[in-house]
Every structure is written in C-alpha cells, then in structure tokens.
Amino acid sequence: MSRIQAVHTRSGSVSKALAADRLGIPAVLFFILAGVAPLTVAAGVIPTAYETTGLTGIPAAFAVVAVILAIFASGYIAMTRHVISSGAFYTLISRGLGRTAGVAAALVALLAYSCLQVGLYGALGPAAAAEAAEHLGLHATWWVWALAAWALITTLGLLRVDITGRVLGVLLTAEITVIVCETVAGLAHPAGGHLSFVTLSPAALFSAGFGTFGVLAVVAVLGFVGFEQAPVLAEETRRPKRTIPAATYVALGVITIVYAGASWAMAVHAGASHVVAAAAAQGPGLLFGLGGGTLSQAAQLLFVTSLFAAALAFHNVTWRYVYALGRENVLPAVLGRTGGNNIPKAASLTQSATGLAVIVIYAIGGWSPMSYLFFWLGTTGGLGIMILLALTAVAVVAFFGRDPRGESAWARLIAPVLAGVVLVGIIVLAVRNYATLLGVPPGDPATWALPASYAVVAAIGLGWGAVLKVRRPQVYATIGLGAQAPR
C-alpha cells in the first residue's frame, strides 16, 4: 500500500498534513534571530561604534529604534498579508510605488545586503587571527583568515548549505547566554562603584547636537537588520496572521533587551566618560572584559562562530536577492538559473566574487579591517536598510490608499506615516553627520561617497526600470511577482 493511501482516507486530512509540515512561532523566531547574529553586534558593532563615533548614547538608541521599528512593523506586516513577498522590501515597494521604483529599491537592497555581508569579513579576519594566534600558535595576518573564511563560505554557498536547525539553535542560545552573563558581570562591577543610567537616558541621544541621533539610529538599525525577514516565511507558517507578527515583535523585544543591556553594561563597567577610550583600546575585548576567565574565552570563540554564521546567512540572503532578480529578468537571466541539486551557482558565485574583490582591495590598501571594512561597510549597509524601511513605509501607505483591504487605520495609515516621517528624518540627520558615523573629519570623501552610492544605484535602477517598461513590457509586468512570476 502506498504511503499516501495508508494515512489519508478522510476529509480534512490534507489540511492537517499541511499544517504539520508548516512552521510555528519558535521556528520563525530562530530564523529571524539567526540572521541577526547577536554576538556579532554585541562584541563587534557596539565597541566599534563607541570607538568610531565617540558617542555614548548607543544603549538609548537601541531602545528608541526598537519602538520605531515596532511601529513600522505593523504596516509592513499588514501589507505582507496581501502581497506574497519572498523578495520582501523590493516586492512591497514595486507593488506600492510602482515597478520602476521597485527596480531601484532592488538595487539599493542588493548593495545594502552586499555591504553587510562583505563587511563581516572585516571582523571575521581579525577575530579568527587573534583566536588562532592565542590557542593554536598560528600567526597570520587578518586577510589570510578572511580569505579562508571566504573560501569556506563560497564552498558552502555552492553546496547550498544553510547552518540551520540544531546547530544554529545551539549557537544562538550559547551566544545570548554569554552576552547576558557578560552583561550581568559588567553591571555587577560598575566603574566607581556606582550604577549610572546616563547612557540609557534620552538626553544621551542628543549629546553632541541633534544630528547625533541620526548617527546613533543607523548604528542601532544595523543591529536590528534581519528582523524584517519573518514575512519571507509567511507562506510556510501554520497561522501566518498570528505567527509572523508574534515572531517579529518577540524578536524585536529580545534583540532590544540584549543589545541595550550589553551596550549599557559596557558603559557602566568602563564608566560613561571612559567607554570611548576603552573601546578604542580593547575593541571587542570591551565586551569580553566584563566577565572573566572561562566566560571571556567562550565569548571570544563564539564571536568567531557568530561572525561566520552571520557571514554565511547574509551570503544566502544576498544570493537569493540576486536569484529573485535574475528570475524576473531584472538582472541577467543567467543569475536566475539553477544547476544540479537546484543550486543557483551564478547568483552565489556573484556574491562570492564581490567578497573576494573587497578583501583583496583592503589587503592591498593595508586599511584597518575592523574600522574601514566591518564598521564602514556595515553602517553603510545599515543606512541602505534604513532607506528601504522608509521607502517601504511610503509604499504601505500608497498600497492601502488604493484599497484599504479591511486593514485598520493604524496599520495602513497612521503607523507607516509615523514610521516613514521618523525614518526619513533619521536618514537626513545621518547623511548630514556621516563624518561622525565614520569617525573622520568633515569633508572627507568617504562621507559623501558612501551615502551617494545609494543615489547612484537608485538612479541606475530607475533608468533600467524605465528601459524595461518601454523595451521589454513583458519583463516589466512580472517585476515584484517573486516565485509567482512566469518564465
């Protein structure tokens, strides 16, 4: 007897079987948090941000940005209920603001995720080099380790390996445990014996003028990148209406507590007035130094695995973007093809090639990987995500403006307008104060070149969208349809 016959002979068995095959809240939550990579942010982003920007309001920024993102999420999730969106942001932007804008958004997203992925090699190289020197007695410069990690990620990408399920669950749990332990240890030993709340106060957000908030918000958004991934799984969940918002809000809550707590503990332990200097001297050690001995050792090792898992996760997110765009013929069709075992080789290799080129350029230039690769490209990726969030908020308003589809005024209008206005404000402030974000004197070419790169790709996208509209209307018609696009 066939298996299908053995199990299913009564009405209702199909829905039961389908439900059993789908994901619940914990699976979606893990999926989100895995992309967020907590230790990468806690040990990598936060100390580097203290050092580079010289600002101390980072803990407060995490809390405030979490609220902004929660408001944004209500409109965002409402729209994903009506638009099947495996391509997330650019799909929503094409449906809300038109396909030409969608192409521009797609290229902005591609650049942003690429920056985030490639930037991770800048932290992975030095972290692996330090661990290898200390424990294995192997002494090699950062880029040797970055290239080794690159080779491994390229191979795993071609085998289409996602670190999933148990391995990721264990890593993630260990990472969060370690951060919480370090945080508690740090708070238990405050500088001067006094627990200071100054870095958590809203006043810290504007310590060096109004523009400070824009800079801090970009750093915080960088920490939250990945929270937007839940709707990608909507079709795979048992009860999308409940599962997707629940997982998103729980993830936002967990991330906020962990990051705000860890960054606050670092400031408390070193002293708010000394934390910037301590970050410059210790780097990721600013977190590891909160606890002692074994905890610190475990944290350093987990930092390397966290960075690696994040680099692989972002590699997989980026090639999926490239693949989705290739499928829709927005990018060359060859990028939207799969080879044996359904592996999209061309899309995966394109992202690998970008990574290789950047590592080689930094190695030849002799630039500091932690500041100029990890933090500069990371924050620039964060700015790109912010631009996409703002565009998506506008797209949500436009989409529901044509037809409310039974959504509440809060979700379809008030929340996205609120989020959109605040996000645009933050972007303007951040771009005007990019020198502070990068830790360079005002007028440095990087302060305009990095943000302007988004304007350039957006302009290319708008142009290419217009060309497709006129020259290849059948391709234009399928932009943003994702897996539903015919080919």
């Binding site: 066939s2 016959q5 199990v7 002979t9 389908l18 799984l233 795979e236 359904n342």
Partner: protein
C-alpha cells in the same frame, strides 16, 4: 517487466530522470524531487482525464478511475476532501510522500531495487541504467516527432525543467529542441500548463524561503 519503453507513467519517468541512472543518487534537492513528483502525479491524472483543473483547484471528472494503485490513491484523497484546495496546496501535500510512493511503484514494476549505495548505506538503485536513462530519449523522440508533440512527452519535459532538470536536458537535447519545447508547451492542455507552472513556483518559492 522492465523495458526501454518504461512504465508509460509520467511520474515514474520523472523519478528516473531526477536520479543518477547508475548510482540512483538524487540530482535535485529532496524538496524539489518531492514537489516535482507531486506535479507528476497530478499530471498523470490530468492526462488520463480523471482530473481537471478548475479555478478553485483540481476537480474529479466522471471518467473511469485509473488502474494503477498509486494514481487511484491520489484520486481517492481528492475525492475524499470536501474542501477545495488550490493546486499549490495539493503539490505541498503530495510532495511529502511522492518520492517514496513513486519509488515503490517503480520497484514494483522492476525498475528500481533496494540495494547498497557505496558508503552512504542503502537506497533505491536503478535495476538497469539504460532503462533509467530512457525517459530522456523519450523526451527527445517526442520533441523530434513530426506534427504536434505528444502531450505526455511535453508535460514530462516541462515538469523536468520546472523542477530544475533543465541543465540535464540541455546536455542531451539538440538546441532546436528547446525552441520546440517552448512551442509544444504553448499548445499543452491549460490544466497541465497550470500544474507545471505551479510546480515551478512552489520550488522557486521554497528556494527563496530558505526551505530548500
């Protein structure tokens, strides 16, 4: 028993194409194999005229039920369900068991044997590599025939491309056959076209959703 002519059933041919003809190793990811074979099982019922695709999903016709046990079992589930499900839900449902069921059916017909597969333990291995390779030759013949291409051959080729076997076909089919496949697909029954399109969308969706 076994022969180069095959069992005449679409999902059987697709199974053989999706696995190495000598080692029996899958050439696609497990999810893609499952979804592709689910499409194959639906296509078999469409080709036999026992199922048609309506706007709300597959519906049973008054045609005589198929003789084959697996096809009858699939039809039985469709009949038993009072609720209508769209094609993609049926694909997801059938995909869970399709690979096992089709492998067992092929084993029953003598095309597969349960045997040792190197160091990776036991698995299904083609009984005769030539018979296992024959579906590709059948697609070749269908696409080079004079007049309209036969529906089953076209549907098989369309499903094979949909689940990611395009590169394998490219290897063995002359370039003019790819154009021919496009034309033949356009003339295919709309129901079969819908099943093939939905199979491709389901697999691409799984890939984009990190589920492959």
């Amino acid at each position: 028993m076994t022969g180069l002519a095959g069992t005449g059933r679409l999902a059987d041919d697709l199974y053989l194409m999706a696995h190495d003809e000598v080692t029996g190793k899958a050439l696609l990811s497990p999810r893609a194999v499952g979804l592709g074979l689910a499409g194959g099982l639906l296509a078999e019922l469409l080709l036999a005229g026992t199922l048609r695709i309506t706007a709300s999903g597959p519906a049973v016709t008054s045609a005589a039920p198929p003789v084959d046990g697996l096809a009858r079992a699939v039809l039985g589930v469709v009949v038993a369900e009072r609720e209508q499900y769209p094609v993609r839900d049926w694909l997801a449902f059938l995909a869970r068991t399709a690979a096992d069921d089709v492998a067992n059916r092929l084993a029953g017909a003598g095309y597969l044997a349960w045997a040792r597969r190197g160091w990776r333990g036991q698995g299904w291995v083609p009984a005769d590599p030539d018979c296992a390779f024959a579906p590709i030759a059948r697609i070749r013949a269908a696409l080079s025939s004079v007049g309209p291409a036969p529906g089953q051959g076209t549907a098989l080729a369309g499903l094979a491309v949909a689940c990611g076997l395009g590169p394998r076909l490219v290897q063995y089919l002359p370039p003019q056959h790819h154009r021919r496949l496009g034309q033949a697909m356009a003339q295919l029954d709309p129901g079969l076209r819908a099943v093939i399109g939905q199979t491709r969308a389901a697999i691409d969706n799984a890939l984009l959703c990190h589920r492959i």
